[in-house]
Subunit: 396 residues, 4 copies
């Protein structure tokens, strides 16, 4: 009795995998698992109905809490891979871990996923499945299926074909971001049509009054909006809504995939834009110059690990330890103005501000302007010696 | 016959320095120098009239060309110090070098400047003046003068006091940016009033139609707008105007000054925002992932050197060599949409794109999806071994 | 009743400071403090006798334990500033904190130290003293005293002049390293005479038999020699002795001081060389490639902070958090061979080794050689696309 | 008429590839190419004889000059991957490019190499062969051959089996380094026997008199020994000989291979140790602190690219541009003492030294000790503010 657990979204690809796993791979039992990381409710219900109908057994697992915790770490790290807010990348290992839990519980012989051999997700999924010692089956990657073949095969197996408007792009959506790629968008010089966006209004259609929002942070984590405490899921959903209404949080970019291919990607992420803008602003008030400069290098590495799906790499834990230490003081509030697609910090405050007004205005006795001359004598000293030598030798 | 050359802006501070240099420092001759780095024309003329009137001799030097060259390097480096576009920082050493030229020509015994002991400019000026072996005099830093004393002293010496509207903040302006600091703005939680801005309209007052602009780049340098070739000064002035009209290019931030004090700064810089947004976008199409990742570290260091006024540090030349090498291929165009304060890239193209549509869509024979599985087996291998050990030992 | 606490070594400089603090600075009471950070016992006793004789009150404080803890952190960080093992740099803030404790206990009005204005120690001391709000007095820096003046002044005040062999260099010594600088050594092209070394024999005079030593580590900290557990002070002293006997641990280098001056420095540090060689070797067995690569960047920054005396900078805590996380698994042993000045790792073992013999020899079923081809197809992909474009366009 | 060019060493593996390429892959013509990158002369002659005997055509190509140029760049970069001097890694792409030249000249249909699927060389070779659009054949990787099978197959095809002493390790040797791996050495805790070393004497057997060698550098490149100009090949060979005689240049380490496996490696490289020790020492005299610190980050990345065989990655060119810029002043000499396995710098000199004796001893008028106090007031300022806040709030 061979059993396989299938990472299941309810779409055509993963649904045709069910009979494929039986027919082409010889499994006796196919168990589908849909993991809720904040995608639209009706998508989850749809997957649930279809899993229950076509597979031998179906699980729907709520991982929103785990995902929000990961997002909180991402905010502390100002998570940004070449400009991308890392929504899908961050979710994959969480989904994979949940699927592994079911596979263990079900004593499954293998885990299957519907990712192709072109993208990043196969690598993010495989990494976690391999780690737990599972055989991995990726029919899309292994069989090179076309959409036409899939539709025919679905019909043959009595699988209802999703009546989606025929969208020429591929979408992935969770609590943190919505990505749109493929089709004509693959041409970097093609200006994307408005219809690809669902979370954000075009700036032309947004309200004519700006909104000022105050985000409260505690140890780097957003905890309140306009003074009102909110749990993570609600806070992010609220900002996605209000930010989207003001056209905030669109990215159109060229991105380097893990395998080394460049791809044009479009993203929507109102909450991510607002929260990271605010978080960065608060950090500038609280962290020392040396912390800010070095943390950027840490952030660059952190984002790469997340994008690559390498959250089980030991370096990831060490980077998190660094980041967490810096965030102990990132407590305070930031006011941002969102309007017609832009999000600008206007004011901020923290008990931990390294800012001292009396020092900046130099009125204190502690620092006398004359000390600056002493400082100035040494500032740039080596550069001056260098130029003197250069002048003398005239040979460099 | 002791002679001093004074770095001259025409304002109250540097004008009272003229009699001070005679009376308190005993110079027989004071030569004023005003350097044109793109500040408003009438400011330069005003400085010129007053220099000619109050000093023994006056020079007005045009350094716009040198400044534009420095700005071009800054664009290649995506110049950004903690969010600041580095306008004033970049201009100071250029001004200083021009003043040194005059000081040498005039056989001056010393160079004077009007910077205080609180800020960055004293260090940027001193560094260049010291390098050329000049004695540096900084009356504001050395004598701790108050505005009241200065006004009285000016009156006593027949110096006309500039009838500026009594602005409670201090302004610095050149081709690349306009900075506003001081007064109430020093409180990070104070929301700045609209009146501090002169280059940019408030997004609420900008046109209701967005503008799409195409920037052409050659080797990292912007050379055309909407297909029309433009010289650097004109191109930057044009983008400042049109960007400002659409409310693009405002920064409100906490900044770490060289001496280690944090300060709240406000900036305007429409052209800088548009050009760097476009430049970064084009780089993502053309540079390899490894170049993009490492160049960020180089940029961080580059920006620090410029902010610190250390452009004569040998590291600066080496960073520039790195950057120039990467820019050889940054040729192409980017279309950005500016609207109501936001600036978003929409499309881009380059003959040097590392992007290959046929690879991304994986239709080529060259890359087969099955290869991805081989890749996947090694991707994250060490992280998996680490987790296996961790599980076995249960002690980490 | 003005009281000053003096950071006291017992030498001529700090001893003449006692009457100077009374006569030139007007203090009524001078309290001397000598901090034991592992310098030779007789040096401490000598300072004690003289402090008790010439000052109003004397304290000897044992800080060896605090210093060993700091050294343990340094080992985890492979502490190395341009090749220097950081002994003096690491000790200064610890000494300063102990002096501050006494100053607080004694209700002192100021703290004095004997550092000149040329070196690093003034900055390391001042930083801690300023932090605790003390007025700092540095007579050597402020009064520009010469040795002749000091000797005459000492005689006048009945201070016995130390009968040291007239060494033309200045020495600093503690548990971790011994530094020699000054005099003829200042010339980088001068080959130092053997007599400057006291901890290490010249390789020509060391035993003709090598010694193999096994160092045991637990979480990055050395805990045993040849299987025998030892406390930190004993372990370091033992390795200093045996390493010195074999001529291990000499450094002759040009170093960049904090103020930007380059200086020629000579150091001895047998234990440091042995421990860091062994620690680095063990890390290569246990840490992942990504950890090793990124930790080097962290170490570079860590060493700079220690050298600059900036251990109270918040970045230092964050770097330590990173390092500590990586060290949780650095448990195991390393065998090194020390002989005639060299120290070479020969063998190592750890339960946490990321090394898996069956993977390296590829006999396991888990990894098949054919997977490597898949990997190879993507390895370097962007570089190949780059070269193809380069060839096509012939313009780069 | 299918033709294949085979990268040929003359050993058993690549020799059995000749009939394999005919029989199993169906090639009509096999052309062997041996590239001389400084391996022992008799090895090259041996390969030549066997190539001429068993293949249809043989080429021996001298690439020593190209290899020396690459080594010169490596010296400027202080080339070091986790402690490895990168000899084999640096040679592979040069060999590959030469083989490509022949393959193009011969109009070959494919290129074959004898690397297995376990190591690094397959990836370094493939990368260059793929870049030039060649089909790559790697029989060892594809057919999973055992030594027994190979010997039987050789006999069957009349191939003389090399009568090597049955060495249980695998060797690679060129001008820059000799590597030994495999067999019992795979166990990290196994102390390697003396017999694995051929270039270096055991320190116990070296002369009892040390040798002091002066290396002259010009723009970062070694050009003379003890004042006598030498070409690259001769200079490196001379230092390998004399260094080996004194036991200098052994490495025993755990290394992270490209695929992510850790492996124990042993290396010999006397010239590399001497030259890089001297080069680093000279750099400390000449480069600014900021250059030294940042160059370390550049070197880390440079070494990774070389180890990975990614010298055709555009980042490599940019890193080289950075490095070359810093090396313009690395001209001067260094004296090192080599003795019983150790190599220690004793003295150094350069016209471009950033060292100024008069500054260090602070006797010049230019720098007064009092200025240091001014510097000290700002040094560490943010760390002090941080600690003050920490104390006040008692919550961090």
């Amino acid at each position: 009795m061979a059993k396989v657990v299938l990472c299941y979204s309810g779409g055509l690809d993963t649904t045709v995998c069910i009979p494929i796993l039986r027919e082409k791979y010889g499994f006796d039992e196919v168990v589908t698992v849909t993991v809720d990381i904040g995608q639209p409710e009706d998508e989850i219900r749809y997957a649930e109905r279809r899993g229950e109908k076509y597979a031998d057994k179906h699980y729907t697992i709520d991982a929103k809490k785990e995902f929000v915790n990961a997002i909180f770490m991402l905010i502390k790290a100002n998570g940004d891979y070449e400009g991308y807010v890392l929504g899908t990348a961050l979710a994959r290992p969480i989904i994979a871990e949940k699927v592994v839990e079911i596979a263990k519980k079900e004593n499954a012989d293998a885990i299957a996923h519907g990712a192709t051999g072109k993208g990043n997700d196969q690598l993010r999924f495989d990494n976690i499945f391999f780690q737990h010692g599972f055989r991995v089956i990726a029919p899309m990657r292994e069989l090179n299926l076309t959409r036409e073949w899939e539709m025919e095969y679905a019909e043959k197996h009595g699988i209802e074909i999703p009546v989606t408007k025929d969208k020429p792009w591929s979408i992935d959506e969770n609590l943190w971001s919505r990505s749109i790629e493929g089709g004509k968008l693959e041409d970097p010089s093609y200006i994307p049509p408005e219809e690809i966006y669902e979370w954000t209004l075009s700036a032309e259609k947004t309200p004519n009054e700006p909104e000022i929002i105050e985000i409260g942070f505690e140890k780097g984590i957003p905890i309140s909006i306009n003074g009102e405490k909110m749990d993570g899921v609600s806070l992010i959903r609220y900002l996605n809504e209000i930010g989207g209404k003001h056209g905030v949080g669109r990215t159109d970019m060229i991105e380097d995939r893990i395998l080394g291919l460049k791809a044009r990607e479009n993203y929507e992420h109102p909450a991510a834009t607002i929260l990271i803008t605010a978080h960065r602003d608060l950090e500038k008030l609280v962290l020392s110059r040396r912390e800010l400069k070095f943390k950027k290098i840490v952030e660059e590495e952190w984002a790469e690990l997340v994008y690559y799906g390498l959250v089980n790499e030991p370096l990831f834990e060490a980077l998190n330890a660094f980041i967490d230490k810096t965030q102990e003081r990132v407590t305070g509030w930031v006011r941002v103005k969102i309007y017609k697609g832009s999000c600008i910090p206007l004011a901020r405050s923290s008990d931990f501000a390294l800012y001292k007004e009396e020092l900046t205005s130099f009125d204190s006795l502690e620092l006398d302007q004359r000390f600056s001359e002493g400082y100035s004598r040494f500032h740039g000293l080596q550069g001056r010696i260098y130029n003197e030598i250069k002048k003398d030798l005239k040979t460099i």
